[in-house]
């Protein structure tokens, strides 16, 4: 039976079913319900919930707990994720799995608690220092908040990477009916992790490599891993794309607005479709390149100044116009606005 739940609450159900046993976090609007829900369910089920003294401490507890073999997570919103960025780089450099939920809010600075999608560059292009990537899922529904979190731990363990669930204030705060898997997943023993036993005694979790050859070899191996990730887990969804002349490209809450706009424009006889990346890294470059020769233009709808549009442009290599439809400052456009803007552009 489906339950009507907030995106932020569904995350914790998904996490516990996905085998997560440890939650370390720090409250922040609009992500706090995740911590509230974790405090209740992790504690009640004999898992570990700890409210850390800061986002910095929380993410370092993640590093420790994950290095000790556990499936671990934290949640935060944009300014909190920025604070975590240092350790996210360590997590990447040390090949440690972790899951982070980012319920994006408006920046820069304190901004405000309304939705924005402007953590795109921070989460996808670094944030922390060094050559590294995070796997990034972009849910656009409460169901996907649950589903992506459920599978995030398996993926994180498989690739020994940080998996981000990049949501936004609306996806976190809204309620929708959601169903859950009844199979609970569990972490398996990891041959690299520290278990405080004889078998794992020689293990070392580090991102420090003091010889140039070993250091560059570590980065090579990261890059090879990222290439494998690109081959294996890219996900996207297409709506009314097969006969479309123009397509929206959007993720998260913007894709929901774009979906309604597609229906509205089609009613008016305008052939538009929607292409929605479900993973932002890996980014569906290949499919976008194919679509570039099939449609007349792409319209990237995002709540920032065109961060994903830059990636779309790289993917389609100037074969067609890529239009940036941007809103920011906590503003989610109405369908009417998007429809009007589209009609003017094409």
């Amino acid at each position: 039976m489906k339950k009507l739940m907030k995106g932020n609450d569904a995350v914790i159900h998904g996490a516990l079913l996905g085998g997560c046993t440890h939650f370390f976090g720090y409250p922040i609007t609009p992500a706090s319900e995740i911590a509230h829900s974790a405090a209740y369910y992790f504690t009640k089920s004999g898992r570990t919930f700890l409210q850390a003294e800061s986002e910095i401490a929380a993410i370092n507890m993640i590093l420790g707990s994950a290095s000790a073999g556990a499936r671990v997570m934290t949640s935060s919103s944009s300014p909190g994720v920025a604070l975590m960025s240092e350790c996210v780089s360590y997590i990447a450099g040390s090949n440690v799995p972790a899951v982070i939920i980012d319920v994006q809010r408006v920046g820069p600075g304190l901004g405000y608690i309304w939705p924005e999608q402007s953590d795109y560059n921070m989460v996808l292009k670094g944030g922390g220092h060094g050559v590294y990537r995070n796997i990034v899922f972009a849910p656009n529904s409460v169901q996907e908040m649950a589903d992506f979190t459920y599978k995030a731990f398996e993926i994180a363990d498989k690739y020994r990477m940080c998996v981000f669930i990049l949501a936004d204030a609306y996806i976190g705060q809204m309620m929708e009916p959601v169903s859950f898997p009844t199979k609970i997943l569990h972490a398996k023993r990891k041959d690299w992790a520290l278990y405080a036993d004889e078998q794992s005694r020689h293990n070392l979790v580090t991102s420090l490599f003091m010889e140039r050859e070993i250091l560059s070899a570590n980065i090579d191996s990261l890059l090879n891993k990222y290439a494998k990730v690109e081959k294996e887990i890219t996900e996207f969804e297409e709506t009314s794309v097969s006969d479309a002349e123009h397509i929206f490209i959007a993720f998260g809450i913007s894709s929901r607005v774009a979906l309604t706009a597609v229906r509205e424009l089609r009613k008016q006889g305008i052939k538009v479709g929607l292409f929605r990346p479900k993973t932002l890294f890996p980014f569906p470059n290949k499919r976008l390149a194919e679509l570039a020769s099939k449609v007349k233009s792409m319209m990237v709808v995002e709540l920032n100044d065109g961060m994903m549009a830059n990636d779309v442009e790289l993917a389609v290599k100037s074969k067609l116009p890529v239009r940036k439809f941007n809103w920011y400052g906590g503003y989610v456009p109405s369908v009417t606005e998007l429809v009007e803007k589209t009609k003017k552009s094409i």
């Binding site: 079913l17 370092n60 405080a196």
Partner: protein, 471 residues
């Protein structure tokens, strides 16, 4: 017989180190090697080599994993107590050591050490205080003495320019949870032997799961102090030991008490706690009317139950077999102005959950009607709480209803059910789902069980009011 030799907690050959695999990377006369040796010996004596996980700081001892044949973890600068917390909270039988210098622990990592200590984490912290930044090349540390020269205090540390040196053991000793706090010194052979005892005691406390132990060790850094090994020990005794009192601050038998972690639930128990059952519903289960996409905005002021009535509506739509979304307004508007919930229900997958043009507006107060009257779709519906809203709807292209909901709710004895009365009225007026569904959903949707009865009465009142309204 051999009385003292290199402890077996050290690797025989330091293979991770590269060249010079029998010696440490520490400078001649540095205190770290001595502290390492004391820890390694205690590990040997206690037979805990397999259980130990070292959390190395950033500083000269970042590389301690070259030496210890134990689990090893390298941490971001200052964060070792947080990383160690993560490990300790994951592996109940681990013995986790956070080994930190003065910059790492008392500077960048002040927050992490204080909070780990305050929580009484099961950790052993070795704080090597040499009053200077070693690895970075001799800059001021938080513990650098007044007048002490460093690269960043070339004229000596000045209290006004640079602040005062900080006494960490004293600070940690103000907290409730730690079981053991001691400051030792490597200045003399006797001091080294006392340090040996403190090291062992601190590790023993963790083995016995007593709690948080903190050992501060005053240690020479001959190179950055610009002295030889012997002079540096003398300077340590004459200066560091004068400001940093060498003594045991605390040696308790028990730490804080509390409930701790609850029993680990099995898969089946967890499913029960989460109330997760297999989703057996399918589209065929429901004889749904075709409503296309139906958008409702419920608006009023905080305390009118706007948000929870929205949830009730979304739950009804779900139980009637529709897709549904609920979106709250939140933020500044909740602290005074108009609060509203947006609910969309549809036969199809729902696009935007934002309701800009509602098919139905439920206006619980005047500002809500003022704000949203014009946004209602042509042919749509406006239901007004006429107990509070004195004016009439001015539009003529919409259906309008006036329900004195607040007055009715007051009569029922629970003002907060006004919006529920209107929701029952809405169910009857729009006919998208029956009042029976609303009644069935109330016990699921209303969190506080003592209000269920009042809500059910409110539904009946709304229902009856609609029946009379039609007449």
């Amino acid at each position: 017989m051999i009385k003292h030799t290199k402890p077996s907690a050290f690797y025989d050959t330091f293979e991770r180190k590269g060249p010079g695999q029998k010696t440490t990377h520490y400078c001649p006369g540095c205190g770290h090697g001595t502290v390492h040796k004391l820890i390694a010996e205690a590990i040997d004596e206690m037979g805990i080599k397999d259980q130990v996980i070292f959390c190395a700081p950033v500083g000269c001892t970042t590389l301690m994993y070259f030496y210890f044949d134990t689990g090893n973890m390298q941490c971001p600068h200052g964060r070792a107590p947080a990383v160690a917390t993560g490990i300790s909270r994951t592996l109940d039988d681990s013995i986790v050591i956070s080994y930190q210098g003065d910059g790492d622990l008392a500077g960048i990592g002040m927050s992490e050490i204080v909070h780990a200590a305050n929580r009484g984490e099961k950790l052993t912290v070795f704080f090597v205080n040499n009053a200077i930044y070693g690895m970075t090349g001799g800059q001021m540390a938080p513990t650098t003495l007044i007048g002490q020269e460093s690269k960043t205090t070339p004229f000596g540390r000045d209290p006004i320019r640079d602040g005062m040196p900080i006494r960490m053991s004293e600070l940690i000793n103000t907290l409730e949870a730690p079981v053991f706090v001691e400051r030792c010194s490597l200045g003399t052979a006797a001091g080294v032997l006392k340090t040996r005892k403190a090291v062992k005691k601190a590790l023993m406390n963790q083995k016995n799961k007593k709690g948080f132990s903190f050992v501060e060790i005053l240690s020479p850094c001959p190179i950055n102090w610009k002295m030889d090994a012997i002079q540096s020990r003398k300077w340590l005794i004459e200066n560091l030991e004068k400001f940093y009192e060498v003594k045991n601050f605390r040696d308790k038998d028990t730490s804080i008490k509390g409930q701790g972690r609850l029993p680990f639930l099995s898969d089946d128990e967890l499913l029960k706690v989460l109330d997760v059952t297999a989703d057996t519903s399918s589209d065929d289960d429901n004889n749904r009317v075709d409503i296309g996409e139906h958008k409702v905005k419920i608006a009023g002021f905080g305390g009118q139950g706007i948000m929870s009535v929205g949830v009730l509506l979304a739950n009804c739509a779900k139980n009637a077999g529709f897709n549904s979304t609920w979106l709250p307004s939140y933020g500044a508007e909740m602290r005074g102005g108009t609060a509203y919930a947006s609910v969309v229900m549809s036969n199809d997958i729902i696009g935007t959950p934002v309701v800009d043009t509602p098919d139905v507006l439920i206006a619980m107060n005047s500002p809500s009607l003022d704000a949203f009257e014009n946004s209602v779709t042509k042919g749509g519906t406006i239901i007004v709480n006429s107990s509070i809203v004195s004016r009439k709807v001015t539009r003529t292209d919409v259906n309008t209803y006036y329900v004195p909901a607040t007055a009715m709710a007051n009569e029922l004895g629970l003002t907060a059910t006004a919006a529920v009365i209107i929701l029952a009225f809405y169910a009857k007026a729009l006919g998208i789902f029956g009042v029976d569904i609303l009644k069935a959903v109330v016990p699921i949707s209303i969190k506080n069980k003592k209000y269920i009865e009042a809500n059910l009465r409110a539904i009946t009142a709304g229902e009856m009011f609609f029946d009379d309204y039609k007449k």
